[in-house]
């Protein structure tokens, strides 16, 4: 090999991953790429497209509920809308979004690795994901109609309804499989591919949060997988498992379902917490308060979060022992989340705060997630839950946690990392305007839900009594404001990717994690040399030198 070609081939690996021309050209260079960064972008495009579909369905649901009955669609269409809205938002958007997009893109870089542990498996996960997602979309248009059971698929209704259940359940199963593969990929990456010197407690907190999340994914996803598979088997072969006419116990289905789907809430929220733990210290320009407490609380949430599933079933007539145990554990699981919220707030203390868009979203996350978490605590109390469960209160609660939490975490991540990913900066002024519209719209939309719930409005209701209308009208108006904010935000980000101001400096925001020490956008191989890590991720030693100077 001559020196010249050697130099060329090295040069090829130093080119940024967006311009890289590998074995496959053009679109195939993306669809067949095993580069974690390109797969991250693939996920970003697909997840955000599904998000758009989910938002559209949610928008239509709100429009329908403007009047007590029959505004734009009939009850069957409405039932399908809220079911598919739930399935898309939960299984296809918020569960994968942060790990798959930002985990894929930044986890290896943050750990100082060139790729994830199993790059080809990573690509396979994406294909499984889009197959599952496409099946859900197809179910909307196929004859027979989309699933109309609610995203919880409760037996016996899910074995009785005539809609395309098998198709939908199979889709969720496939997506679950994709989720498991991503989880085991990340776990192996974190265990085996940290750069030399990066001990467990020198890992960025985002990596910690992904570690905890991946464990939940690997452990509990198979349980819902097998449960949904059994519903398919039950529908196709009339095998007696859950169906009460065949002797089954419908509550066992609920137990099995929530054994996954409650921890899924933590799969949803913990990565977003990781994002916040990155953003808050960077924009305060100081070290994070209580690194170890935050790291351990991620694991604590993962462990305890897997043990509280039956608090979704307080009204189902469980044994008193179960009610006691699950209510107690539910209250205790609130503690690690509370610790995180306090630590983030304390991180602002004595910082040098720049209120850039990512921090705005992060602070909104803390506020909205606190409301979500606190409304969750309210429902942990048994007698209050018996009143509030299955009402709009719980719909409000889930949207504050999932949208206010993970949604705003996602927006923070987008505004924090997109400039790094594409080397282009968005318009910060527009981003701030979009933030305020989104934030205000969000609260106008979802806060009335909490009031409606307290007033006894049952969820999943196409029709409602006239006394509830005023709150529904407020919420629907809120949905218009929220969608406007989202449109401005995403158009702003999209424009920035195409023709935003070029950014080439490595450290855009003054972060200290490894992704800020590589080129913008990153090169194909991430690092020319695997870095040697000596310090923790948020040391901000500069502060301490300056402090010493002052003392002198």
């Amino acid at each position: 090999m001559s020196g010249e070609t050697l130099a060329l081939s090295q040069n090829e690996h130093n080119v940024n991953y967006l311009d890289y021309q590998g074995k496959h050209k053009g679109i195939w260079g993306w669809l067949l790429s095993t580069d974690h960064k390109r797969i991250g972008i693939l996920y970003m495009i697909t997840v955000l497209s599904f998000f758009a579909v989910g938002v559209t369905l949610g928008f239509l649901i709100r429009l329908e509920l403007l009047t007590p009955q029959g505004t734009i669609v009939g009850p069957q269409a409405y039932n399908e809308f809220f079911t598919v809205h739930g399935i898309i938002m939960i299984f296809i958007v918020v569960i994968p979004v942060i790990p798959s997009v930002f985990g894929n893109f930044f986890l290896p870089i943050m750990l100082g690795a060139k790729d994830v542990a199993f790059p080809r498996l990573n690509l396979l996960s994406w294909y499984l994901y889009i197959i599952g997602g496409a099946m859900i979309l197809l179910s909307l248009v196929l004859p027979g109609g989309a699933a109309d059971t609610g995203w919880t698929f409760y037996i016996p209704y899910s074995v009785r309804t005539g809609t395309n259940m098998i198709f939908t359940l199979a889709a969720v199963f496939i997506i679950g499989f994709s989720s498991i593969l991503t989880g085991l990929n990340f776990l192996t990456t974190i265990h085996r591919m940290r750069a030399p010197g990066m001990g467990w407690f020198k890992m960025p907190l985002f990596a910690w949060s992904l570690y905890a999340t991946s464990w939940i994914q690997v452990i509990v996803t198979p349980i819902v997988g097998i449960t949904l598979l059994m519903v398919i088997v039950e529908r196709v072969f009339h095998v007696g498992i859950f169906d009460p006419t065949l002797g089954g116990d419908p509550l066992l289905f609920q137990h099995m379902f929530w054994m996954y789907s409650h921890p899924a809430v933590y799969i949803i929220i913990v990565p977003a917490m990781g994002v916040i733990s990155e953003v808050v210290p960077v924009f305060s320009q100081r070290t994070i308060f209580g690194y170890k407490f935050i790291a351990y609380s991620s694991l604590g949430i993962a462990i305890f979060g897997s043990l509280v599933w039956a608090h979704h079933m307080f009204a189902t007539g469980m044994s008193n022992t179960a009610e006691f145990v699950f209510s107690l554990l539910t209250f205790l699981v609130a503690i690690p989340s509370a610790i995180k919220v306090f630590n983030w707030t304390a991180t602002l203390y004595k910082g040098s705060i720049k209120l850039e868009p990512p921090l705005l979203y992060a602070l909104a996350f803390i506020f909205l997630f606190s409301i979500g978490g606190l409304t969750g605590i309210i429902q942990g109390a048994l007698n209050v839950d018996l009143y509030l469960t299955d009402t709009y209160f719980i719909v409000g609660h889930i949207h504050y946690v999932v949208f206010g939490g993970t949604g705003f975490g996602l927006f923070a991540a987008l505004h924090y990392w997109l400039p790094k990913m594409f080397g282009r900066m968005y318009n910060k002024k527009v981003a701030k305007v979009a933030f305020w519209i989104t934030f205000v719209g969000f609260n106008i939309l979802y806060f009335p839900f909490l009031i409606l719930g307290w007033l006894g409005m049952p969820r999943r209701s196409y029709h409602y009594l006239p006394q509830y209308q005023v709150y529904h009208v407020i919420a629907t108006v809120g949905s218009w404001i929220l969608v406007t904010g989202l449109l401005i935000m995403f158009i702003n980000l999209l424009v920035s990717i195409i023709k935003g101001k070029k950014v080439t400096e490595e450290n855009i925001w003054g972060g200290e994690t490894l992704e800020w020490k590589v080129a913008t956008p990153p090169t194909v191989e991430n690092f020319e040399e695997i870095p040697q890590v000596v310090e923790g991720p948020y040391e901000y030693k500069q502060n301490e030198y300056e402090l010493e100077e002052e003392v002198k």
Partner: protein, 216 residues
Amino acid sequence: MSSAESTQAAVIAEPHIEEHAHRDDVRSRMGMWLFLFSELLLFGGLFLMYSVYRYMHQTDFSIASKEMNTFLGTLNTVILLTSSLTMALAINAMQRGKKGLSIFLQIFTILCGAAFMVNKFIEWSHEFAKGNYPGSAILASKPKGQILYFGLYYSMVGLHGIHVLVGMTIIAFMLVFTIRGKITPDNYVKLEAAGLYWHLVDIIWIFLFPLFYLIT
């Protein structure tokens, strides 16, 4: 010929070692083990359902299990355990560079899997002949606990059977890789992973056997 090969080997020895160091077998096995946990918990979910229903319908489960052919069940256990042994030996033989022996043992493992499936087929067709199949009027007229027993039996044993078939396919691929020389005495992690999968299938059967065939 052989001396020429060895000198060539000496020349490329250094990059070869580098590549070997770059390859992380522990990483591959860790991925495989994590995958096995998912599999374990997939069945774990079924075992949880089983335990609840057995607890609720103890006598019905016992009566229904009397319909099972204990001899075939025991035979299948022995077959699967033996195939696990041959799979472990196949990997060991490969480590020691005995390619021929390894190929033979892999074929033997696949044949054991096939024998297991044949037995399953005999068992199931027997049950079907008796009318103990999902959706049949005979089964539907039985007590609820027995319907559930057969529901769980077909689901769990069926899912396990699918795993046996998948395992056989994987080992068949390994066989091709071994013959083509893609699996070698110093790069056999694929074969190890296939072995791990096969042993997991064995472990699941170790639990299924007493839980369905030997209820007193």
